[in-house]
Symmetry: C2
């Protein structure tokens, strides 16, 4: 039992709680302060015993009613139900987990909850989970391998039946005991490292190669590439696509044309401006993901000469800009749906060997990728 | 224990698993099929007993090591740790929940995982949860009151310590037993119905009123309003702001100027086109949220006359369109952060009465809201 002044610290570390300031606060009516009284907060949930006492029946009878088992007269069932409602009793699913082994929940580990790419992916995973009667538990690694591991193991400790993981790290041997213990796992967007696991990815290499070929077909030779950190699988694959398209066209790539790193606007802005300056500026840019594309669009909007642009990932309103933004689109919802369906096939026991599933990308031409070289 | 052909149905309903088709499938190496063998999937996690047997110590000693209690020699602790690693033993947090009462997790119930408005809000809640050592469990109601209730109660059954809820329904009396039992709860974006609970909202009324006043100040009198379903609190409040601004300016609102309903592009497109046709078309439109704004921008892009536009919610790239889109911006991250901090103050036991906290909105002028009437 907690005293009224103790901090919330279920894991045992004491962390000060930040004050909220600067907002208007309008107190409402205060009818129901009952739940705030110290001493009533925890550990006082009604139990089956309480229900049995109130209904004047045995514990086994309550258990039968709660679990929908036979052998209870309608009149007794009514009394038990009345007691359940009066006391606000609810079955504790944590106890069920321990008894039955399965929790009807799956975990989804994202890279960033705020990246719009993951919105349709998450929703698709949730839809599939729901169709299988399972709850989706969700969290993000913020592109930090330690945090990914912490979150994955926290979900496993809560006994999720399966995991859909967009990995931040590149070594997933920490998952081996969980896999052995039967936690179904599917990686999505990026593959697992050092373990065999199902993975669903877009054709990052082929999509980027086709996007750069498109720029080459429109007369460009000095083509820049601005991408995410090369340790991220998707970034490396898209860079490989860029290099392959250039090599296939017999264009030697010069170092200043490639810039890889974090996708924050400041870094991307600097990279774009560097490529666009000097005696031999690039005449076209291929951007490695939606975050990079949005920043490069802003740089090009303020640039004196037209510069061609093809971006990996579609972005909202890209068709209404002047020019419209040509993109290599992934199907984020299909990635999520495919991964989740695969997960439930693992849980069915119908899959034997891990597979790699690759979904195609789609080039959508809207104007920016069809601009000719400015010089 | 499940047999290999049974469907995943932990809740007891049998649902067929959809087949994935139409994607390239590339089998990978199959070194590790061990985890897929029937009979090894469930119920064979190593227990403390297994660890004790392997380390050649008693169960109490293993328990001491696992829970960081004193009274174990370094040599014994080393043997136990080796056994833990060799067996892949992990403490079962479901059991801890039952013993300790708190789970170090909070639930977040969203309206739609794919709406970009909820991205920064979710991330802010997660950051606060993490700062308090708690895991965020997340799900969406898809704007369905029954689904909201189902999800909230499922999270309560898993004994989350607290809930941040963006409600879909308007009657939350179903939560009363949970509140009594001590589940901390904060509503965000929209208030709770028929219960007293903390709520953090934007100033939807004032923001919409200021946006419409802005259009009136630029000479408009025939101003349309396209919003979400009026049973949604935010939609009703923004409509009230529109009506108040019009009334304050002495402009009688005509019925054809107001369109409320679902925000799917088809309905919004039709509504906008109707307002823009006829002998006395509107010269300006106020849009009730980001989903509506995006569709109206498309309609206006194809319209022969310039029409002024102010939208509720900011949208990405709004500044780069021609004209730039004037918006009433909410601070989605501040909503999430404020709600989550409030939740942890409840869990600290430092709050007594439920409050309503209202965050200000911000008018951002970019061009579309400053266009004069076209006639």
């Amino acid at each position: 039992m907690l005293d009224a002044t103790s901090s919330y610290n279920p894991m045992g570390t004491r962390i000060p709680v930040a004050d909220r300031t600067g907002h208007r606060t309008v107190p409402e009516t205060t009818r129901s302060t009952e739940r705030r009284l110290p001493g009533t907060r925890y550990g006082n949930r009604p139990t089956m015993k309480d229900v049995a006492a109130r209904a004047g029946v045995g514990l086994k009878t309550v258990s039968r009613v709660v679990n929908g088992e036979p052998g209870v007269t309608p009149e007794t069932e009514r009394r038990v139900q009345e007691a359940i409602e009066a006391l606000g009793f609810r079955r504790n699913d944590s106890a069920r987990v321990l008894r039955k082994g399965r929790t009807a929940s799956i975990g989804l580990v994202l890279e960033d909850l705020a990246d719009p790419f993951y919105g349709p992916l998450s929703r698709a995973v949730e839809e599939v989970a729901r169709a299988h009667g399972a709850l989706l538990i969700n969290g993000s690694s913020a592109e930090d391998a330690d945090r990914e591991q912490e979150l994955v193991l926290a979900l496993c400790a809560r006994r999720v039946d399966g995991l859909v993981v967009i990995p931040a790290g590149d070594d997933h041997r920490y998952l081996e005991p969980e896999l052995k213990a039967g936690v179904a796992t599917v990686f999505v967007d990026r593959p697992a490292g050092h373990i065999d696991a199902d993975v669903v990815v877009s054709d990052n290499f082929g999509g980027a190669r086709d996007g750069v070929r498109h720029l080459i077909a429109h007369g460009h030779r000095r083509i820049g590439f601005i991408g995410d950190m090369p340790r991220i699988h998707t970034a490396a694959e898209r860079l490989r696509g860029y290099r392959t398209a250039m090599e296939d066209a017999g264009i030697p790539v010069e170092d200043p044309w490639m810039s890889l790193g974090v996708t924050d606007p400041e870094r991307v802005r600097r990279a774009a401006r560097e490529m666009l300056s000097g005696p031999e500026p690039v005449t076209a840019i291929f951007t490695g993901n939606n975050r990079v594309t949005v920043t490069v669009i802003r740089v090009l909007a303020g640039h004196p000469r037209p510069v061609a642009l093809v971006g990996f990932d579609d972005i909202e309103l890209a068709d209404l800009l002047q020019p419209g933004v040509t993109v290599v689109a992934q199907d984020a919802a299909a990635l999520g749906r495919t991964a989740a369906e695969r997960l439930f096939r693992q849980l069915d026991g119908t899959l034997l060997a891990p597979e790699r599933i690759e979904l195609p990308t789609r080039l959508i031409t809207r104007g920016s990728g069809e601009l000719p070289p400015a010089d």
